[in-house]
């Protein structure tokens, strides 16, 4: 469909006068009487483009508009890139890891934020008032998913609204853009103290608390071996979290040398699963007991390899729409985990998985902990650790680029070219 044909030129979204942030705009959108911005927009499988789109506007008194100064591409954006998560539409704006400056404040924000404040935007949108928010179970906030009726049907009960992550979780336009509207902004924000660079705090919005929550859920004891599958950005944060939380041994599992070297730098013993058997090596490292705690930082798109025949089986079933997710990591974790251990899942799963050995899990008495991250539950504590210099999450950034290079950066990140671990975009 031609992009322009979807517009209705009769109704200007807002004029220069009321927007308060006059800036240049080209002739094409001047004709429609509106301002526009650049954003990374989903058009189809592996087709994310840098488009001109209309600016977001304040819709609700609790909204603010943020001028994005830094945003990042996340591993879970790749599930959308591959069109494996239901309910994304062509024209949706990508991105759920962003920060910037507040440039417009709705009348109902009540002093929680002011123009000029620097904030990190948590990827889970929270109301701060519902039962779940009061319990700090923020990722299952009961009020922020504006497609609650659909989510209630799909999940049984709705979960929180998320930025840039399909219409099942509210269809909120994402933050890989020059501007983003933050709904429920009086609760949905992390204020940045003066003096901290974007790079040091950006990841408070997702991957740092996600890795942290995965490790905290393990309830790590000083005698524990914690094995972490996947040394991507979340796995790297989980490794550092497990070190901070005092695990005896942390093990990082991946197949990419650059990521394994980064895992080693963070204090992990590394296993390259293309070179050695994960199960044998883990047993060797634990005197035959198996790791006490296992973290899945991979999720639904396990690496497919003939060394692990079940991944080929899953890939085939996934292609024939008989299974949505590839759970090789789960099977391996359940098998190798020490009895009475914990399986902590940070990687995203979207739907149905097949051949999960519940018999092993049940008889070994394993505890499963999982979930989207309750971001704001952890961010005050983590912000303090960043300020004190306990951790500096910017170590994970390997690529920084402008928004126009976004589509190419998606490809480089997906194909793991140029030793890419984490991409930050500067709109």
């Amino acid at each position: 469909m031609d992009a322009a044909s979807r517009l209705d030129p009769g109704k200007p979204i807002h004029s220069l006068k009321e927007s308060g942030r006059a800036r240049s705009h080209d002739a094409a959108n001047q004709a429609y009487g509106r301002l526009s911005m650049r954003a990374l927009v989903w058009h189809g499988t592996e087709d994310i483009r840098c488009d001109e789109v209309t600016d977001p506007e304040i819709e609700d008194p609790r909204d603010v508009i943020v001028k994005v100064t830094s945003c990042a591409i996340c591993g879970s954006d790749l599930h959308l890139y591959h069109n494996l998560i239901p309910a994304i539409l062509p024209g949706d704006i990508m991105g759920h890891e962003m920060m910037g400056e507040v440039v417009e404040v709705g009348s109902g924000v009540n002093g929680a934020l002011r123009k000029g404040d620097r904030i990190v935007v948590p990827f889970t949108i929270i109301c701060g008032e519902c039962d779940q928010c009061k319990r700090k179970n923020f990722s299952v906030c009961e009020r922020t998913n504006r497609n609650k009726n659909i989510a209630d049907k799909a999940f049984g009960h709705t979960t929180a609204g998320l930025f840039g992550y399909t219409h099942l979780t509210g269809g909120y336009p994402g933050g890989q853009a020059e501007y983003v509207r933050v709904p429920f902004a009086d609760a949905t924000h992390i204020k940045v103290p003066v003096g901290l660079s974007d790079e040091r705090v950006l990841f408070l919005g997702d991957i740092l608390p996600t890795g942290w929550q995965a490790a905290v859920q393990c309830e790590i004891e000083p005698s524990d071996t914690v094995a972490i599958w996947g040394c991507g950005p979340v796995g790297q944060m989980a490794i550092r979290s497990a070190i901070l939380l005092g695990a005896k041994q942390v093990v990082g599992i991946d197949c990419l040398p650059e990521r394994l070297s980064m895992a080693g730098a963070g204090g992990a013993i590394t296993i390259n699963f293309l070179e050695e058997s994960v199960v044998e090596r883990l047993n060797e490292l634990t005197g035959g007991n198996g790791p006490d705690k296992c973290v899945d930082a991979i999720g639904m798109e396990s690496h497919v390899s003939f060394r692990q025949p079940d991944t080929v089986y899953d890939r085939a079933k996934q292609m024939m729409l008989m299974e949505s997710d590839r759970p090789h990591v789960l099977r391996e974790m359940i098998y190798v985990c020490r009895p009475a251990g914990v399986i902590s899942i940070a990687g995203v799963y979207s739907g149905l998985v097949d051949k999960i050995p519940m018999g092993q899990a049940m008889n070994k008495g394993l505890t499963f902990r999982m979930g989207q991250t309750h971001v704001n539950r952890w961010t005050d504590d983590l912000m303090r650790r960043i300020e004190e210099g306990q951790i500096d999450p910017s170590f994970v950034i390997t690529h920084t680029a402008g928004l126009e290079q976004g589509p190419e950066m998606y490809k480089i990140f997906r194909d793991k070219q140029d030793s890419c671990v984490k991409v930050v975009l500067k709109p």
Binding site: R34, V41, G44, P56, L84, I243, A265, M319, L382, R414
Partner: protein, 182 residues
């Protein structure tokens, strides 16, 4: 757009940002050719599965319907793979399949085959497709391969400005956020 999107009656809110001017398509020409070859593979595979008798008759090789159906199944799986993120494997499996097709057609290109002309025509067509498959497989592999550059060494990126040993286990003592509220 995938399956569920069609069921759900989903739409964006009228107030959400709308595309004014679209940027360049992110898929490279080779990726788009790969997609077309994927669909071609699936279409051909279906025909080979459904109309194996007709094909066997046209090529003058009656009795070989089973082989043609097996080749159909092969085309289907190559096609599905060529449409996926692992499209390099799909395209290279097409190239291997082309070799198999050519071998079989050469075997059928005998002087005593009354349909020798048809077999010749099929050979020319398959040779053409093989060339496209080969070029596309090479281009797509070059575009998506990790490349020959040495992986970078990040062993100086600890993420612990105060050093690893200074912070090991620190959060056991100073954790201020609730460990669990579930």
């Amino acid at each position: 757009m995938n399956m569920l999107s069609k069921f759900g009656n989903l739409s964006r809110r009228p107030s959400d940002p709308k595309v004014v001017k679209s940027g360049p398509k992110a898929l490279a020409p080779s990726d788009m050719v790969a997609r077309k070859l994927g669909w071609f593979s699936i279409a051909l595979g279906m025909v080979e599965l459904i109309a194996s008798e007709r094909i066997a008759r046209a090529l003058g090789i009656p009795g070989k319907e089973g082989v043609i159906r097996a080749y159909g199944a092969r085309e289907l799986s190559s096609g599905i793979l060529s449409l996926s993120a692992d499209r390099q494997s799909g395209l290279w499996s097409r190239v291997a399949g082309d070799g198999l097709d050519i071998g079989t057609l050469l075997w059928a290109f005998r002087h005593d085959n009354p349909k020798r002309d048809n077999v010749g025509l099929a050979l020319v067509l398959v040779a053409g497709v093989t060339l496209i498959d080969l070029l596309t497989a090479q281009k797509v592999s070059a575009r998506h391969a990790r490349g020959r550059r040495q992986p970078q060494d990040f062993s100086n990126r600890s993420g612990f400005p105060r050093g690893l040993e200074a912070v090991r286990g620190l959060a056991r003592k100073d954790m201020s956020s609730p460990a669990s509220q579930n």
